[in-house]
Symmetry: C2
Subunit: 765 residues, 2 copies
């Protein structure tokens, strides 16, 4: 490992105290004079034509300041991805899911708002609804959007190499089918926004993962210059992909504020979060692989269908990632991917930690275990045979630099005691393995633009005792403010304890695309590193002038400027920075980052690829109660190749959080609808999230290659999403190992285990 | 006038909407979780020994979280001016005025705090008090501070040229005596502060004119690095000199927060503001001048005594300015100045709009009218004879560049109809004239440091449609945020409407000494201009690259980049700024300002001088009710040489505000004490501030020299304080003209007029 001073150390979170004392203000905590509260009226029907809306009674209610419908808002359709703009602020002709946006009210208080919502009369003509993507693709089914025949929102057909020939050449070909369920991100902080439209300018305080995309889309919708839209991120209580796109709260709030001339606070309650927060797609996944006698994959065919719900959201990217990330972990050459993302009359789905990738990874890891069983191979062995090597390119042209998947597998085998346990565990106990990989930021922005992906400014304060980092990168709880301050200090040769940060506000901080696709440590990190280095270069030039030496003979670490040759301390950062300020004015460094040109083919356009990829292996040991189907996780061993670590504690927190979230999705979480398309369990009582008591014992380790990842600053890669990815397949494989039952749909619920055990007993009887 | 695009125009205030909607948060509006409220227990005696303090009962009161006395705080003495550090956070041995700080309490709510204050038992031994500076200097009087014999806090003895010889050479020598009263600044927002001490770092939100000095002195008092003290200025509701120095609120609040681990909000109520806010000194002023036959001043001797109250505050500078600014307006060579600033057992005095200068100016302008009368000269004529010329140096070595005092006098004469009115007004009506001058920032900081006086950073936002100015300059209502944004836009070649501002916070904005001595337009202005020009240079270099021309052929104004020779528009700011960001990263400009080496002699050290000086003439017409003494101001004509105007509306607002404030001091305002040193009228009911209804008709004009002031960016000079200065003398001279009575003490109250008229009638009888 290279020798670092500030990075690589478990510094305390820079916002830790503000959060534990309650000093931290979230969007919903903000109060402004004359602030109104707004709420959206939503559809009670999954599919219905709007015949008329009568807001007159609602408008007469004392305390109501504005009632708006589609007649009061721009007609322009929007959507976070410009691939499909298919949403309106309010439904114009018909509603497309239970919860679709119909009207909104702003009033003096919450009680009045809710009263007013009940006074709005909407005349609906109910239409037949389609709730299942497989049905929805048939002819003669209800059409969710007239422009999309057979309800097909997105179609992807990719073929690299020749899968059919590979299957012909194969020793063994096998097809399996799996189903992934619909889940939601459930951040602890529900989404809130305060909008203020004044003097032709719109200011929005929002619970957002990306002030930039909010700014861009709000400006577009209302025909404003981007500079006339200011988006400010207060503290954010988790996002996990659900807070990346502007919601009805921002669009309706802006209009209500413009009409009333007052700030308008809008919020989703927990139930509304389930309908509006664009969680994980339900996926139907068929995988066919052909392998040689040694288990080497010759070709893979992924044939997937996704339930997109009523709108596109980030679903085009989810659909792409669902297939495109499969070849990252294994070095095969022939790959075919067919995907249909289908509209249904259910809430729209979008990005959730891991985007489209975790469920297909579950499918592939189960499938590979089944192939291994057919071949009589050990599950780790078949993965070692196929594991991707560094400096290789996937069939779909993802260029992989560093890749220590083999080391991950070997380390996980050793740590977990795999070789001793496999086949030797007592009845009801089993061990499983799965791998994963994820991007370190997307190589292309969500909408087409040539803007750099990240920028940063560092300014040393006038007395030289501290420095302020200005960044548009977004800490949503994952600790990026802390990590970026460590990086700034490292690059400057200063201390973390001297760092201050201003983030994130489109008006006062430099542009950055925000927190998604695990991009900030690498991309925002590059910008911060460059800004810090620019400070250091100026500082050393000043020091060289003071000492009458050449600047190249000096360096600075932890605030001490020293002679490189002898190691002798000469001056300190603080005094030289202060002198710089006196003699030359503000000591400011700037940096930005745009990814290199990357491959990755999708419909002729290059999308979705990343400068660098993380790799992981997970081993889980489970214990199954044969009577009840209950799954206890006895232990998890998790090994990551996530490049250079900036903050080991925060890295662990990310790994643990991701594992934990993956465990919830594996075993418990599922959004359930009734036959009218209404969510049955849209609350934290009935939607079963894991709690602290459910956390298994996790043993984590890291592996590093000989060379650091060249595409990352100091060799960093991602970890925040990648750690979620192996979990579902790993548990499914462990359950199979324990009980000999193969659960082919998520979640791997106690009920399904119980049923499968019952069926198995009946078959064996 | 040169041709400007953004400066010189009455742009709306950048914070106007926030203020009129109530959105603007002042320090007292801030709420933090777990915030306590703190109050200071003050002395009921003007002078007493503290024999003991028993806080046990107060500490037991439920809801009280901390009770502190001198035993709980650092012993280190402080004071805003390092010339005399004579204050402690709490009195250690004795109290020195009614209101002196003895202890403080932090509790859950205000009611509990006030109850707890009443439960603190302080045992005092009353000491004889001295309330008058003339008495205080006698032997055998009570000593306010043992270290300062005869209670002399500050002594100044300056002699330039030879005044005695001048008087010998003079055709006429005359001595007059005047008295100026004690007044207070009475900002509409009383002082508040919220202190948070956490993790060894202190954060203070305070109603301050200078985050920098607060930061410096808080760090010094508590032995913290400056970088560990963060001072944030929320919106501020007026300062006028009273909010320049950290108060007991910040010092006690910091300790209470450190002890309780919670944010502590402290505030002064209106009555406490009178005791703690360090208003204008009471001055005893004796002036002797010698003039030749033409009224030309050959020498001036100013012999002054100031009532400093119990502590130094900014009084050393007030004492210096009281004399040092007298020669600014008139071109005499021989000048002697003796000053004693004397401790008394009254609240300390400090800086108030115009610092020490307005009362001596009143004295000099009255005196000069009296000399003119002796010589049979017209008051304007004697001023024209003596008026300072541009590019001259005062006897005390103030270097004056631009100076249009002669033009001010001539313009005021013409506008006011002086020649027609003088001697021709009906009985009871009179007209008077006075002049003034003021610094545009002090050439030396308050404590000795080589830091530049101002710094600024401008960052163009990534889409090129807006730019953010980061400045530590402090808008306290005077409009500096607006003016500095205009300057930034002008320097960049951009529009005011595209400007955003971040100010002022020691952690997130560049260093600036803040709002005092009318410094910001010139000093902060230079820093902003340089930062803007650095942006423009980078922008034009990018444009030149895009156009393949030499950058020197291009310029940019109002967002349009054009060919200088032909005037043809080539590109616009926005697109080039955006391209810059794409190709080169953040577009950031930096600037700073340190004044040139200046003269100005005071005890061997060079202090108090300025890069540039404003000049003004005021003519007032009054109508006196001979029965009641009531003074009606029939009209005011006000002419300024304040250099290039950045924002005419805001300039007018400054002139009107200063005149208005001067009028209050001239006629009504005076702090009255009882014989125990207790303020009798410490509230806005009994301390008679002028109201909107009292505003006379004011006709203002500006004059400009041939050349702009070279020391100011674009030739700017000050206006905020200078306009206060002539008012008192002008009114006094008009009253004399109306009624033949010479009021030799301030305020020129109705009662004094009535008494003087009565005496005059009795003498004439």
């Amino acid at each position: 490992m290279p020798d670092f001073d500030v990075i690589g150390r478990s510094k305390p979170k820079i916002d830790g105290r503000a959060k534990v004392t309650g000093e931290a203000k979230y969007a919903g905590d903000l109060k402004f004079p004359n602030m109104l509260v707004g709420k959206i009226l939503t559809s009670p029907h999954a599919h219905a034509r709007i015949l008329g809306i009568d807001t007159s009674e609602a408008g007469k209610l004392p305390g109501v300041k504005a009632v708006i419908t589609h007649a009061d808002v721009p007609e322009l359709k929007y959507g976070i991805s410009p691939a499909r703009w298919d949403e309106n602020i309010f439904c114009r002709d018909k509603v497309r899911f239970v919860g679709d946006k119909v009207a909104a009210v702003a009033a003096l208080d919450e009680e009045t708002v809710y009263k007013a919502l009940r006074l709005i009369r909407v005349e609906y003509e109910e239409l037949p609804a389609v709730l299942d993507p497989l049905t929805a693709m048939n002819d003669g089914q209800p059409q969710v959007h007239d422009e999309y025949p057979r309800n097909i929102n997105t179609e992807i057909h990719q073929h690299f190499g020749d899968v059919d020939q590979a299957f012909k050449d194969a020793y063994h070909v096998r097809t399996d089918r799996f189903v992934g369920q619909r889940t939601y991100q459930c951040p602890i902080e529900p989404h809130s926004a305060v909008s203020m439209w004044a003097d032709g300018k719109l200011t929005v305080y929002s619970s957002t993962q990306s002030p930039h995309y909010f700014q861009y889309y709000l400006a577009r919708e209302f025909g404003l210059a981007m500079g006339d839209v200011r988006v400010i991120k207060p503290f954010v209580g988790g996002g996990f992909g659900g807070k990346l796109e502007p919601t009805g709260l921002e669009f309706a709030g802006a209009v209500l504020s413009r009409l009333t001339g007052r700030p308008v606070r809008m919020f989703y309650d927990r139930h509304e979060m389930f309908a509006h927060n664009r969680g994980r797609h339900r996926q139907y996944m068929e995988l066919t692989s052909g392998v040689d006698r040694d288990g080497r994959i010759l070709g893979l065919y992924a044939n997937f269908i996704m339930d997109g719900g009523a709108y596109t959201s980030l679903g085009v990217a989810s659909a792409y990632y669902a297939g495109a990330m499969l070849p990252l972990t294994y070095g095969f050459e022939n790959f075919k991917f067919d995907m249909y993302r289908v509209y249904t009359n259910l809430p729209a789905c979008g990005a959730q930690r891991g985007h489209g990738a975790p469920q297909p990874r579950y499918a592939l890891e189960c499938h590979l275990d089944m192939v291994a069983k057919d071949l009589g191979m050990d599950p780790i062995q078949i993965r070692l045979v196929n594991a991707r090597r560094p400096n290789t390119v996937t069939p779909n042209e993802f260029r992989v630099n560093s890749c220590e998947l083999t080391a991950c597998l070997e380390k996980a085998r050793e740590m977990s005691g795999w070789d001793e346990k496999k086949g030797n565990l007592p009845p009801g106990r089993g061990i499983g393995v799965a791998v994963g990989s994820f991007v370190s930021g997307a190589g292309y922005p969500i909408y087409r633009t040539d803007l750099p992906h990240a920028a940063a400014v560092v300014r040393v304060n006038e007395d030289g005792t501290s420095a302020t980092l200005y960044t548009g990168a977004v800490d949503i709880g994952q600790g990026s403010d802390t990590v970026l301050c460590q990086m700034a200090a490292e690059a400057m040769g200063f201390t973390y304890e001297s760092m201050k940060i201003v983030a994130a506000d489109t008006e006062t901080t430099p542009h950055d695309f925000g927190a998604y696709a695990s991009r900030q440590t690498l991309m925002s990190g590059w910008a911060v590193k460059r800004a810090g280095e620019e400070v250091k270069a100026q500082l050393l030039s000043m020091a060289a002038e003071l000492l009458d030496v050449d600047a190249s003979t000096l360096d600075c670490r932890l605030g001490v400027i020293f002679d490189v040759a002898s190691g002798t301390a000469r001056l300190n950062f603080t005094e030289v920075a202060r002198t710089f300020f006196v003699k030359r004015g503000p000591l400011v460094g700037k940096g930005s980052y745009a990814p290199p040109k990357l491959g990755g083919k999708f419909k002729g356009a290059a999308v979705g690829t990343s400068p660098a990829y993380s790799f992981a292996t997970q081993v889980s040991e489970v214990e199954i109660d044969a009577e009840t189907g209950e799954i206890k996780v006895a232990g998890v061993w998790d090994v990551h190749d996530c490049g250079t670590v900036i903050n080991p504690s925060l890295l662990s927190a990310q790994v643990h959080g991701a594992l934990f979230m993956g465990m919830g999705e594996s075993v418990w979480e599922q959004v359930v609808f009734d036959d009218k398309g209404k969510i049955m369990n849209g609350n934290l009582g009935e939607y079963r999230l894991p709690t602290a008591l459910d956390m298994p014992k996790v043993t984590s380790a890291l592996v590093h290659g000989e060379e650091p990842e060249p595409a990352g600053p100091w060799g960093v890669k991602e970890v925040g999403e990648g750690a979620t990815i192996p979990t579902m397949g790993c548990y499914a494989n462990a359950i199979y190992d324990a009980m000999g039952i193969r659960l082919d749909s998520l979640p791997l619920s106690y009920e399904k285990v119980w049923k499968a055990l019952k069926e198995k007993r009946e078959q064996e009887r």
